[in-house]
């Protein structure tokens, strides 16, 4: 009988104890694998660690919410800011270029971003890297038309026949929705999908599709800002008489202390604030890193506890195994074979737990991914594999050998005569 068959027989005889010890290993491995899988993809989703601008101006409130909404197209907008602030900033000596942004509508879960054509033409995705079209052209935008729409008297809806309703679609949004140059679509009011979502009457035509940028912009659908404010039901003259409003302003400054200087000035206003996206995103990455490190430490601890439970389980079974071991020895098995059987048993338990943990970890990541897909629009799947998982399995084999050593030496030193003695 081969050593491995003896090991399997031993495990079957103590099925419940074996299953429970393997389960503890599986739980730890599952958490490690799930963290690795989700971390890798969520970091890719938040890959925008460099910006083509220095400042985001938005409603007073949470800096993180403003950045998540404007940069990552997540969360809801923290509120609106006066449209004249855009004109004011455009003329500011510290500002090289400013573009207005309006958000709040979506198409099949992909957010519509009303903005100027300058955002796609003159701003960079990241320093030194421009937006590129895979097909078509950038939408038609006019500052004069925007001013005309924004200063229209209250209650007056702009004549939709004169207004181009055009869109440029990010690569991921185009792939998921099937939108291409020439396609038409109708937007939904709000950014959530589901029952009760109201569709707008207006129809946009796709004029261009962007090349992949590897940033959240791939998930956005950019529309000319004037069309956003020409939607029936979007009061361009502001809510409750507050005057025309937009969601945010993206600013490229002239450098030096300009961004901090502007943020200082905006911080003293009651109706807006300026946020340096780099600092906010940097802090976000730090939090991610800390939480990941903590979760990894906890799951490694769970694996170690699982290893110790294997040690305890096998060690405690040694007294009842004295006789079978003595019989094996009497039948000619060498001490090293007995040592190998126990070591193999411990590593097999670790390996079974590890493999079960890998499968469970990916299932867990898939479940987490589906929640993130639905709630945050992040494209995360549990079924991608990280090379580090192979290292985890290798580490488990080592752990099996380590925890098997003590009981294996106990078995190694089992005396044949003592083991065969019925009183022992």
């Amino acid at each position: 009988m081969s050593l491995f068959r003896i090991v399997l027989k031993n495990l079957r005889q103590r099925l419940l104890a074996s299953a429970l010890t393997s389960l503890s290993i599986a739980l730890g491995v599952a958490v490690v694998v799930a963290i690795l899988t989700v971390k890798e993809q969520s970091q890719a989703a938040f890959a925008q660690s460099a910006f083509g601008y220095d400042l985001i101006v938005g409603a007073k409130g949470s800096e993180l919410q403003l950045v998540l909404n404007t940069v990552y197209h997540l969360e809801k907008s923290p509120g609106n800011i006066p449209y004249p602030l855009y004109r004011e900033l455009s003329k500011d000596v510290r500002v090289k270029m400013a573009v207005p942004v309006a958000v709040g509508d979506s198409y099949k879960g992909f957010r519509l971003v009303g903005t100027s054509d300058r955002f796609l033409k003159n701003f960079e995705v990241q320093p030194g890297r421009s937006f590129e079209l895979a097909a078509g052209r950038i939408f038609d935008f006019s500052e004069e038309r925007l001013d005309h729409v924004m200063i229209a008297p209250p209650g007056h809806d702009h004549d939709a026949h004169e207004m181009p309703f055009e869109a440029v679609v990010g690569s991921a949004a185009a792939a998921a929705t099937g939108l291409g140059v020439g396609s038409n679509f109708v937007a939904s009011h709000g950014v959530e999908e589901g029952p009760g979502v109201e569709a707008h009457e207006e129809k946009w035509t796709v004029t261009g599709v962007l090349r992949p940028t590897g940033t959240p912009n791939d998930r956005a659908i950019f529309i000319n800002l004037e069309s956003f404010f020409s939607i029936r039901g979007h009061p361009k003259s502001g809510v409750e008489g507050r005057g025309p409003e937009i969601s945010a302003i993206i600013v490229k400054t002239r450098g030096g202390r300009a961004a901090r200087d502007l943020a200082f000035d905006l911080g003293r206003r009651a109706d807006a604030m300026g946020v340096l996206p780099g600092a906010v995103v940097g802090r976000l990455f730090e939090w991610f890193g800390n939480v990941n490190a903590l979760l990894l430490a906890i799951s490694i601890l769970v694996i170690i506890v699982g290893g110790v439970s294997i040690l305890v389980s096998i060690y405690n079974s040694m007294s009842e195994r004295k006789r079978p071991i003595a019989i094996l020895r009497a039948l000619g098995a060498r001490r090293t074979s007995i040592l190998a059987i126990i070591l193999l048993e411990a590593t097999t338990l670790c390996l079974i737990g590890g493999l079960a943990g890998v499968v469970a970890g990916h299932a867990l990541a898939e479940a987490a991914g589906s929640v993130l897909r639905a709630q945050a629009g992040l494209s995360i799947t549990g079924w991608t594999f990280n090379p580090f998982e192979a290292a985890v399995i290798g580490g488990l084999l080592l752990l099996g050998v380590l925890v098997g050593l003590l009981p294996a030496f106990k078995a190694y030193r089992t005396d044949i005569s003592e083991g065969l003695n019925p009183s022992s």
Binding site: A50, G255, G256, R257, V281, G282, E286
Partner: protein, 145 residues
Amino acid sequence: MRALLLIAALAGCERSSAHTGAPAASESPAVVDMLEFGNFDYAERMKLPENILRWNGKRVRATGYMNPGRQVRDVKEFELVMNKDTCCYGSRPKMNHFFQVVMKDGATNFTSEPVTVTGRFVVEETWDGDWQLGLYWLKDAQVVK
């Protein structure tokens, strides 16, 4: 802290009398306090105080906070600022209140923790037309902590 600054300053003076031109690569950086560099009312193109100019061209070691600008990872250039502007009643950021850090080689990642940077301190007013971009520079810099 004052004693440390004095020792650092003396060490720096001694070296400067021994060497002219570019400092030797092996020169150990003198610890400087950024507060000293911001402790006067700066006006464009003014002659800077002697206690600032004496550091020009010297290797220094300063501690402050990173302002990452447009880049969060692989940062090759950033502003080293004295504080994180978290006080709503603080004063407007001034030109002499930050060092523009240019990394020697490689790059660093943003951290919200204080960082210590060594580099060659250079006084150089740089302009983009009528807009002043920088005054104090830390060139060939390395983040050491």
